[in-house]
């Protein structure tokens, strides 16, 4: 019998702890498929961050390092600079990357570190139970904005792709979405391209993946996907922000 669908080799054969309807599983799969297709798992070192995916090393089969909160790009820098032939990626959420780790991501991008960043933007802190993230939309409820995010009090959401695209260091920056099959296919291409950019030694690459957090959004999985499609993309437009014409 022909096998038409199977688990990527770069993912371990285990069940994940993520909530029902959470898109972390899809994002993991896309990374693993890229590692498989590019045949780079053996020389890849992944950097897990702090948040729901702190233990992504239980799912990815490549060598992994668990980084302090927000520091994954600095840890990745240390790895890449000491093992230049390796493929290094970080997997970070929005609290990790855009709040406590703002300094690290901006400077890794500015230096053009030859690493790949997978940035999960679900506009909320997942693991610590639904606090406001730097990406939380205006008027969005969270456990620390119980009356909604108010610009006057909490400031405005940060658009990471747009911010980093102002720098000269990054070679490739794209925002994609995990909300439906078509968008996931695009996301898959983006993730793969980000790794190819690194393999070609072209510089820093990042893919932001618009993601869900049904648990802390208080929505069911379907409603969550719809929120990404209907609401998130209006504030976080999909597309390539850097390196559109890049050939890899």
């Amino acid at each position: 019998m022909a096998i038409i669908f199977q688990k990527p080799k770069a993912l371990k054969d285990t069940s994940m702890h993520y909530c029902p309807g959470c898109t972390h599983g899809i994002a993991h799969r896309l990374v693993a498929e890229a590692l498989d297709e590019l045949e780079i798992e053996g020389r890849t070192i992944g950097i897990a961050s702090v948040g729901c995916s702190y233990n992504s090393y239980d799912y990815f089969g490549c060598d992994m390092i668990q980084a302090p909160h927000g520091r994954a790009p600095a840890v990745a820098t240390g790895v890449k600079r000491s093992k230049p032939d390796s493929i290094v990626f970080t997997y970070q959420g929005d609290g990790d990357l855009a709040a406590i780790g703002t300094g690290e991501i901006v400077h890794a991008a500015a230096r053009g570190e030859k690493i790949t960043v997978i940035f999960i933007n679900n506009t909320i802190y997942g693991m610590t139970s639904g606090q406001m993230a730097p990406t939380t939309l205006l008027n969005q409820y969270s456990t620390t904005t119980p009356y909604g995010r108010i610009a006057d009090l909490h400031g405005y959401p940060i658009k990471v792709c747009e911010l980093l695209a102002t720098l000269d260091g990054p070679a490739y920056i794209e925002r994609a979405s995990l909300a439906d099959v078509k968008q996931i296919k695009n996301a898959k291409k983006a993730v793969k391209k980000a790794f190819q950019v690194q393999m070609a030694g072209l510089g820093f690459s990042m893919v932001e993946l618009l993601s869900t957090c049904p648990t802390n959004w208080g929505l069911n999985p379907l409603e969550s996907m719809n929120r990404v499609k209907d609401e998130l993309v209006l504030h976080y437009p999909l597309g390539v922000f850097k390196g559109e014409s890049l050939e890899v």
Partner: protein, 354 residues
Amino acid sequence: MGQKLLMKGNEAIAEAAIRAGCLHYFGYPITPQTEIAHYMAKKLPKVGGVFLQAESEVAAINMVYGAGSTGTRVMTSSSSPGISLKQEGLSYLAGSEVPAVVVNIVRGGPGLGGIQPAQSDYFQATKGGGHGDYKQIVLAPSSVQELYELTVEAFNLADRYRIVVMVMGDGILGQMMEVVEFRDKEPIERPDAPWATTGHGCERSQNVITSIHLSPAVLEKMNLSRLEKYKQIEEKECRYELFNDEDAEFFIVAYGTVARIAKSVIETARQEGLNVGLIRPVTLWPFPRKAIDKVMGTAKAFLTVEMSAGQMLEDVMLSVCGRKPVYFHGRMGGMVPAKEDILQKLREMKEQLG
């Protein structure tokens, strides 16, 4: 021994690191240790190494964490306020048992403090400045020659025990120039690092560097296994120097720059009929308790002298454990204990104890 060079303390540290095979340095500028970074920036690119000026102390220590995780010899250096910023990383390095060498050229604090020499980071260095139950080996050189030798040794110790080794000097040691006599060949020990995250090459199982263990039983077990390692280090790696210890009645306990001042005090004291010896801890952790035991027979009292409000003093008191009186003399904020003041303290001790 080989080549002799007149060098600044900070430069001797950098040269020692390169000779020890450390070709990766990540740091952030801060006085009074920046010459280490200057030296590395100049030399490392010429020997195929990497010098990277990080955006912050926090980033620098995390770059060290990344490079150390691949089994690469790596170093960072800073001074007190910068070392405070690195504490998060130091705790992670300890929790994940990643070897690294960290240099602290101490200046006066707290806060931004001053840029003059101090020894007021003793607690932070030896008691675990970051969170959690952990230790790091702390080496305290007292000459430029020793800065060189102990920095080389720091890398061997770090690899042998998968631990952070801190070389702790002060602004005087970092800035002063002395002749250093270099060995022709460094005694480098590099054990295999089968734990390192280098990419499994589809040939071995996955390596993971992590400090998180959400099961309390597992986390306790990890801590217990580290305690076992720390015990071994305490047994095997205590280092100290005894000076004029035969029949001395009073013992100064001092490290680093202050130990040098103590030696000159001892000369003068002898002329006054005061028989004074010196215990100079070279490892601050593990603290050389044996040295205190060794002189207990003749010692009438101990005098701890520090450029702090009395931090090593607590380890001296724990080691003496009430067997003899322990006195203290300290200066702070970049002020250096004067020879005459230490002598006066010894005279008072003699008067009180007879």
